[in-house]
Subunit: 215 residues, 2 copies
């Protein structure tokens, strides 16, 4: 059957699968998801396209497996691992938003995936969105919801707006060299301005709550 140490052999199924997955990543990075054609993928991988059907059941299966193979949120999840949360998640929220703003800007593959999720209705993409929702849900339910009480939903809406804004601005900055609201989102100047706005808005959001809390 199979051998555990089947690495040195020229014909290696696992290695070939990895080549296809790497090809998907490369094409996604260079041409975007509209350039993901079976012929191109096979050519990029240096293998025959028939193997895509043999190993993944087709183009869709390969793409789904690629998306599943990427853990796009792992690098951003535990940025401030176990930081102080006795402030209602204020410092955590700040750190999370700032790190997301930076991480998404640098990770062009993630940008493509985010965009993809806005266009195509692929199951594996929905699973990705669901994962992000579930990790967020833990944070909300355990920390901010009890802290903000009756205004918990408004807090969620604020975070939603800021996260979504971060996504859009980062993607916009990559594909468009035009400004946005007069800000150059590629320059360090423009980006620090966004960072200032993020911390400012979070500060204001918690400031209000503190006042209400002390009635």
């Amino acid at each position: 059957m199979e051998q555990e140490t089947a690495v040195k052999s020229l014909r290696n199924k696992e290695k070939s699968k990895q080549k296809f997955l790497a090809a998907v990543e490369k094409i996604l990075h260079t041409k975007g998801f509209s350039g993901l054609k079976v012929n191109d993928i096979a050519r990029t991988a240096g293998l025959d396209k028939k193997l895509i059907y043999n190993y993944f059941g087709g183009k869709d299966g390969l793409i789904d497996e690629y998306i599943r193979s990427q853990d796009f949120w792992s690098n951003v999840k535990d940025e401030s691992g176990g930081a102080a949360v006795n402030d209602g998640g204020k410092t955590f929220a700040k750190a999370m938003l700032l790190s997301q703003f930076d991480y998404v800007f640098k990770n062009k593959d993630l940008q493509k995936i985010l965009l993809w999720g806005l266009i195509e209705n692929r199951k594996s993409l929905k699973k990705l969105a669901n994962d992000r929702e579930e990790t967020g849900a833990v944070l909300f339910k355990s920390i901010t919801d009890p802290y903000f009480g009756e205004n918990a939903k408004r807090y969620r809406a604020i975070i939603a707006l800021l996260i979504a804004g971060i996504y859009y601005l980062d993607i916009y900055a990559t594909t468009n060299d035009c400004t946005f609201c007069g800000l150059d989102l590629k320059s360090a100047d423009g980006r620090s301005e966004i960072e200032n706005a993020l911390t400012f808005l979070i500060d204001k959001t918690y400031e209000e709550e503190k006042r209400e809390e002390s009635f």
Copy 2:
């Protein structure tokens, strides 16, 4: 040559061009911009594809002319036409953000165009973005910049984040039935929560400035 009242005739160049533009809109609405193939466009228009090359110089020319033909921002520009701006643009900003949130959600074609601008580098799309920038620049320069003084840039960053967030959330709500930060962006409940957050954040933004202004 030509006649002004050339409407009743069966062969009418202008009418045919309009048919092509309408076909682009229909396909864009149903299949998205990835479905914009010359053969499909011609079939949808009920005309021969050769005319696309004769009249528009090709597929790109046709698409560019479609984008130019649409004035996507006209409906949202003068929502609060000449409203009170002696409050530093506070009420105007609120009205603008809320109307954008509603308008973009309803206008699926505009969503496609916004998405398109995040993917393809089409000149006509950049012109659209530039138009939005220029109209915004007038507002910023004349009203909010002098009002916020040294914090003018931060104000711009806040508006950028909120506008971008609105875009992303509206598009997300259309193509994805999943929640975002636990909010159902399709339901009236979830959407009013976002609206609350928008007004809240604008209030907070101006509140701070008032305090600083009175030193």
